[in-house]
């Protein structure tokens, strides 16, 4: 914009060389040409040298048959599918473990972070011990500890006594009864959606009411009724359109039901507990950054301790917490690649198999980088949006 305003006088000077607009455009174009040229040179040179060494290259292999099986397939996959399909399964597994890890690590981190500031000696000390222990151990060791140290030593699924809940924790993971929904179950899903929309509408009206009159209306019971009660009622009214699929001991494994793989459990616990320690410190720092006066002012207004934490301290602390929290989320996502060590089939684990079966190392590494970059940038964009929403709005 400033260039536009300056363009007029320099044009009258008549020299293209001294014209800042022209100069900056020329420099930028030259830079882009150089970067594109450099990139092209790298790609072209690599391709030519691979061809000279008789190593196949290109992304065509993604459409050939994979031939191997994957242990955890959240989307349909079998060994007749393509390498590309296998990579997608890996990426989905990465997303699942990252999302599950982020949720648990956040909950854990907030609880422990607040506990670190507790007035109770025992709570405070336990929280400190947790943070100092897990912050100082490499995540890979934590994963191996859970996998080989805890889950592997659980009992085998053979010769198990059946229990009425259908819950089994063995060295094959956690086996739970599976729910098989009938067609009418969609009605309950719709009821849940209606409940969510209704809750949002009511919450907004309450907020307006509070702004206008200063009176706060409690929302908790309404929320429970709408989110749990309404779908449950619909479910009962439609005649319980679901059956349980109980796991039964088979010759080798428990058959039927739903299986949470031990690899997932080990990786999930390890990543959450490891990252939770860092988040706890971030939360503690965030809370400490809110000046003592704010707390005192809240007490002076007659807010209870939990109210002042929820309404005064945490909203202000969040502004300090969110930016470093984003880095922790990105770290957790990237650390999920350690699943390779225990055989959780995330992107890197599946990718290394693809890499070795197809021999297309450069291409697979490119795919890894692009996928992780995409995931990381998406998390960043979301967290930046959240941060902007939480930031202090000055009028």
């Amino acid at each position: 914009m400033s260039a536009d305003t300056q363009a007029a006088p320099s044009r009258s000077a008549g020299s293209l060389l001294t014209n800042p607009t022209v100069r900056s455009i020329v420099i930028q174009v030259a830079l882009i040409v150089f970067l594109v040229g450099f990139g092209w040179w790298i790609v072209d040179n690599t391709a030519r040298n691979l061809a000279a060494a008789n190593i196949a290259s290109g992304f065509g292999f993604l459409w050939s048959r994979a031939g191997f099986d994957i242990a955890i397939t959240p989307i349909p996959y079998d060994s007749n599918a393509t390498y590309g399909h296998a990579m997608v399964v890996g990426a989905v597994n990465t997303l699942i473990i990252s999302a599950a890890g982020i949720v648990f690590a956040t909950i854990l981190g907030f609880l422990v972070g607040i506990a670190r500031l507790s007035g109770n000696f025992l709570v405070r000390t336990l929280a400190t011990v947790y943070v100092e222990t897990f912050r100082n151990i490499p995540p890979l060791l934590v994963i191996l500890f859970w996998y080989f140290g805890v889950i592997s030593v659980l009992g085998s699924p053979r010769g198990l006594q059946p229990n009425i809940f259908g819950l089994y924790l063995t060295n094959r993971g956690l086996q739970t009864p599976g729910l098989i929904f009938g067609a009418l179950a969609y009605a309950s899903l719709v009821a849940f959606a209606v409940g969510v929309v209704a809750l949002i509408v009511i919450a907004r009206r309450n907020k307006r009411h509070q702004l206008a009159t200063g009176e706060r209306k409690p929302l908790l019971w309404t929320a429970i009724a709408l989110l749990v009660g309404l779908p449950l009622l619909t479910f009962i009214v439609t005649g319980l359109p679901a059956t349980f699929d109980f796991p039964e001991p088979g010759r080798f494994n428990l058959r039927g039901g739903f299986n949470v793989h031990p690899e997932f459990i080990a990786l999930w616990l390890a990543l959450s507990i490891y990252t939770g320690a860092f988040i706890a410190e971030i939360v503690r720092a965030g809370i400490l950054s809110v000046s003592k006066g704010q707390n005192e002012a809240a007490s002076a207004l007659g807010l209870s301790r939990s109210q002042s934490l929820r309404l005064v301290v945490v909203p202000q602390a969040l502004r300090v917490i969110i930016p470093p929290l984003t880095s922790q989320y990105l770290n957790l996502t990237k650390n999920s690649s350690l699943g390779l060590a225990v055989g959780y089939p995330e992107l890197v684990a599946v990718g290394s198999t693809v890499l070795n079966q197809s021999g297309q190392s450069i291409e697979v590494v490119c795919i890894w980088m692009i996928v992780y970059l995409t995931i990381s940038l998406s998390v960043s964009v979301f967290m930046n949006w959240f941060n902007a929403k939480m930031a202090l709005v000055e009028r």
Partner: protein
Amino acid sequence: MKSKLLTALLGLAIVGLASGAASADTTLQTVKARGQLKCGVNTGLPGFASQNDKGEWQGLDVDYCKAVAAAIFGDPSKVQYTPLSAVQRFPALQNNEIDMLARNTTWTMDRDTTLGLNFAGVNYYDGQGFMVKKELGVNSALELSGASVCVQSGTTTELNLADYFRTNKMDYKPVVIEAQSDVNSAYDSGRCDVLTTDASGLAASRLEMKNPDDNVILPEIISKEPLGPVVRQGDDQWFNIVKWTHFALLDAEELGVTKENVDEMMKSNNPEIRRLLGEDKNFGESIGLSKDWAVNVIKAVGNYGEIFERNIGVNTPLKIQRGQNALWTDGGLQYGMPIR
């Protein structure tokens, strides 16, 4: 281990960048100038490549590294061993990090033609098998439907496993782990019911279990796994050195030349033995080596039969019969091309 893989891949990318000038020296010249052969081996597979308690490498594949070093330098100790996982092995070779790969690697058309590699022979004819705990009472692989199967990632084993269960309409739960040692401990701790890899590998892995006798290897062999040393494409002289070292070991066994009697044999009148040991004609010259190259190889490691018996034969803990790996004259598949 992972960082090593990435280094290898990064190195590969750099090889891609470097122009042809870098490969002006032949592999033999490079190895001679360095004074050492860089040989890629397994990270630890008893009988094939593992370190003893003194930290010395030993095994059938290791002896192939020693044999090639002896052919070049007359000294089997001039080897630098690079332990590699299944995933790391090909990038390491493509990237000039090693000169040859002797790491129980299956010869397949895909690997031979699209990875820029050449297989220099088959030093062990293997096939994939299954091992289970005795207490399961399983007698055949066809009874394994519904089992959890431990397998190493990035191997032909992983592919055969999928094919075998699919063809026999059985389902299974794969547990895929990168390092063979972790695969073994997952099996031993009961994470899976079945361990699958090459039959020779099963015999070796069995020794690492808490109670080796509690495990049985099932009779089915579900695939062909011809294992052999590998070199890069594009250096025919180097390819010839590794290939003919292998044949020399086989010919020596066929002709009865052993580590003990090789000096006597040099005085032999048998023209075949005289050609092998470089007494009649200098065959070493044609592959850029000295005329007593084969003598050095046999003095260092013995003939193929001696290598086999010393590392994996019936008198070792692995107790593997010669079987398919007997010489063709004994009804096996090992057949050394004639040196003439």
